[in-house]
Symmetry: C2
Subunit: 125 residues, 2 copies
DNA sequence: TCCTTACTTTACCAACCAGCTAATTAACCG
DNA sequence: CGGTTAATTAGCTGGTTGGTAAAGTAAGGA
């Protein structure tokens, strides 16, 4: 029984679960609707299990409508995760990607005014 | 052997590892230096293992200086994780927290001009 | 009442993860 | 060389995870 943040990150550490969240971003859906794209890869109980992980992490809430369980995305735990990441925002912005890093070592440190346009610029908003 | 994003989130899904990253944010450190705060809770091989997880996720790079292994933080994988989260930025901003949500249902939808100051505002940057 | 649809639970398996102790490698230092 | 320090590796255990098949629950409808 780990802490909330760990459970959130743990829930995100699976491509199937991320895909389920992405699907829910488009709107609520029942379990079978959610499972449908994955049924070639895995069985329905498998999807149910993934959903339970997401539910325990608080990322999904399951409703109850007759025999259907409409699932809803809940981003609140994501906020905490994003807030944790924000502590690293500064060094993320500072660090260029590998290519940029390499170019930085090759080119002289007269960096801020390159020849014409800097392609490794303007990422993230 | 999961995908990169899964390995990143998985590496973050442990408070010890997050603490190691937080420590590295202050600057490089050797394994024993990193381990020191945790040695009451766990042994050194335990910390080594956690570091290996972080290394495999590309979040930490280990150098080699005589018998020391200076560790460096590498935020590049974090950028991908942050970019993934950005897809949910809109609904994160839209959704207020549980309290806010509740207040929203109680108060009329004349929301955008609250009485005086909105406390659940101005988070994130 | 019985069937169908929707979904969950149970029981099992293999793989992995977190932790330990003990042993090993590797480098420096006297 | 022998000892000390730094760190890893090996081998074990117990718990969790991801998947399955098969059985079970619950509601709607003929």
């Amino acid at each position: 029984m780990p802490d909330t943040l760990s459970r959130t990150f743990s829930a995100l550490a699976d491509p199937t679960r991320r895909a389920l969240l992405a699907r829910l971003r488009l709107g609520d859906a029942t379990v079978t609707q959610l499972a449908e794209p994955f049924l070639t890869r895995m069985t329905l109980p498998g999807v149910t299990k993934h959903l339970k992980v997401l539910e325990k992490a608080g990322l999904v809430t399951k409703g109850r409508e007759a025999q259907w369980r409409p699932c809803t995305l809940n981003v609140v735990p994501l906020k905490d995760a994003a807030r944790w990441m924000d502590a690293y925002r500064a060094e993320m912005d500072a660090s260029l990607d590998r290519l940029g890093e390499f170019l930085k070592t090759v080119a002289p440190p007269a960096a801020t005014t390159p020849t014409s346009a800097d392609p490794s610029d303007d990422r993230h908003r």
